[in-house]
Symmetry: C3
Subunit: 275 residues, 3 copies
């Protein structure tokens, strides 16, 4: 059983400062969801700035969504400094498989950094683990989606990748799968409309970094809780939608729901299975 | 007559993946309006990334709103690759006329790329066509605005520019004008409050790219429909405003309205004239 | 007494065009709040672009929130051009004290440019004035916060810094303090929840630039009014929050409140003291 009271309580009580090297598409939503969950965001991506900034933070969120030749070296510099300080580092390999630069950069980050968490959709994680390519942009390929038929094989794949990287691996989609190489948690919270907003994955990565930063003794449980929290807030926000509300309002309502999220809501609404 | 059912239906059915090289001011809104209309966004602007990314997309949206020395070469690389693949390319010459770099870059993009669509306000399009300058920032000059007195001359100008560039030219403002060099469509949908939001032009360009990507056989009609859709959603969103709602809520409501937009709403609400 | 009717009226009547070199985290909110208050935004940060752009604007807002090696030289180029044209320049030293690059860049901007306004939280302004470091990310340190016990010493510090820089210095927090070196204004408008949104400081800096640009004869009063306006809109927006509204909706409501703000609301709601 996940102890939502302790895990969420730690985020709220410790207000972890999270360094984000992230894309400029969803960066504002990442900052606001970090504030909503109880954390505090700082963004910095210049080679001359990132080591100082990551040093005053508690965790580091690396998202390659709009990587470029200036920010890629910064990811390595910040990551190595965070490693030296034993800060948890999360990698969100946005679009791995969609371009050589993304695939190679993500693979090098996995090789050269000690990652606490790797979070992506199934196509991105497969590209990262297997060197495959051809994802449909930054969304998961239909062929890759987790379902009853492929669940066992995806679990085996994720476990092996988690063992190889020593990271908690979170593969998110209609069903989410989190594993530390031994334990496996599947989560079915969430709503299909979340895929109609840009950045639900990025927001989850940012929030997950806050959760693991505030809960160093139980990284796996913290990732599971963040994934459940995001899915549940997607459900709560969907229930709030009026007839004229579309994806823009939905985005706001999800962040609002994180702002008001309680351990009690998590206990009542979580749909997960430990394997 | 525009066949809204087919044109909008194609966007929803094909979910075109649109590569955006765009400014960081309105990029989140561009991504969310692409998702709202039924498309799918990907942003990438590094020289080492854009060719791969544009190759897996269906269309390319180039917006020079915050151009810089790193992203300008990427615009050409991506544009040439998109041309080679016969993907439609849209140019939004934000602030052309306001600086030499913007004017020159936009002019070079027109010269070196085969553009399917050029969309801007009247000052930007004039600057692009005539090398004039002195726009009021990124908004249209008052002196340039389309009105009954200058309509014929603006139509003649736009037609000539469309013929020279072989692009569909869309000049948007209180009255919008779209031409492929032969046909001309004027649109009077929209609401003055749309100018009190940042990025309605950028959002329209992103959405237009999705519309032309999903409707390759009728680019002109697809542009007209996107322009009408944006204006109509501006009206629908305005009707929804409560007493305390201002421009931030208005922005969300416009994207929400695109999310719910139907061909029936377009048929009932479109105000356009074919010439 | 501050003449809110004239100061706000000038912003609405003159629609000042403000050049922003700002971070990509909150840039969209800065653009929308500039439009909400009656100004007009343009963003440009490339060395080849900023001099032309700042020349057609009325004021310049420099925010170092995501400074990098490309945009730092642009800040100096734009600032010097703005100085040459006697446009007011505002500096928001985001995260000064949190990294050497931020502290050094902010200090150099203070040294090399003639600044009309410097706006930051107490930790940032102290770092800038005293070369101290170690702020908690981009938020103010608890130890630095303005309170009854340290008010006199902070006033003396702020006055001295304003005299040295010839700038109006605005230190914002639970209590805001504005000084031109002689006069001092303290403001207690605002709501604690504003710290749960990313970018309230950035938005205030952008809006303040519009206010001083439209009110060249009374820079100090314009800064005081902008600070009061932001705080009051934070209160008005908070009063509007429904049970499910969180920080995302709150952000929108603040911008909405600025959009509808009247001189009458300022007269009724302002809580300030001139010393």
């Amino acid at each position: 059983m996940l102890d939502f009271t302790t895990i969420l309580g730690n985020v709220r009580a410790k207000a972890p400062l999270v360094h984000n090297i992230t894309n400029y598409v969803t960066v504002n939503d990442c900052a606001n969801i970090l504030l909503a969950c109880g954390g505090s965001p700082i963004m910095s991506d210049d080679e001359g700035d990132v080591e100082d900034i990551t040093s005053i933070c508690g965790g580091l969120n690396i998202n390659i969504g709009t990587l470029n030749k200036n920010t890629i070296p910064s990811m390595f510099l910040a990551g190595k400094r965070a490693n030296a300080l034993s800060h948890p580092v999360l990698l969100d390999p946005v679009g791995a498989g969609a371009s050589k630069l993304r695939s190679d950069t993500a693979a090098r980050l996995v090789d050269e950094l000690r990652l606490a968490v790797i979070r992506g959709n199934i196509s991105e994680i497969k590209a990262l683990a297997q060197g495959s390519s051809g994802t449909h942009g930054v969304d998961a390929d239909e062929a890759d989606r987790l379902n009853a038929a492929n669940l066992d094989s995806v679990i085996a794949f994720a476990r092996a990748f988690a063992r190889r990287t020593n990271a908690v691996v979170a593969i998110t989609g209609a069903t989410d799968l989190i594993t530390d190489g031994a334990r496996v948690c599947t989560v079915t919270n969430g709503h299909p409309m979340m895929s109609r907003i840009t950045g639900t994955g990025c927001m989850l990565s940012a929030m997950t970094t806050a959760f693991v930063t505030a809960n160093p003794a139980c990284c796996f449980e913290a990732v599971c809780t963040a994934v459940i929290a995001m899915g549940l807030c997607g459900e709560l926000a969907h229930a709030r939608l009026g007839a004229q509300d579309g994806n823009a309002s939905y985005r706001n309502y999800i962040i609002d729901a994180v702002y008001h999220l309680t351990a009690r809501q998590l206990e009542d609404g979580a749909r997960y299975e430990m394997r």
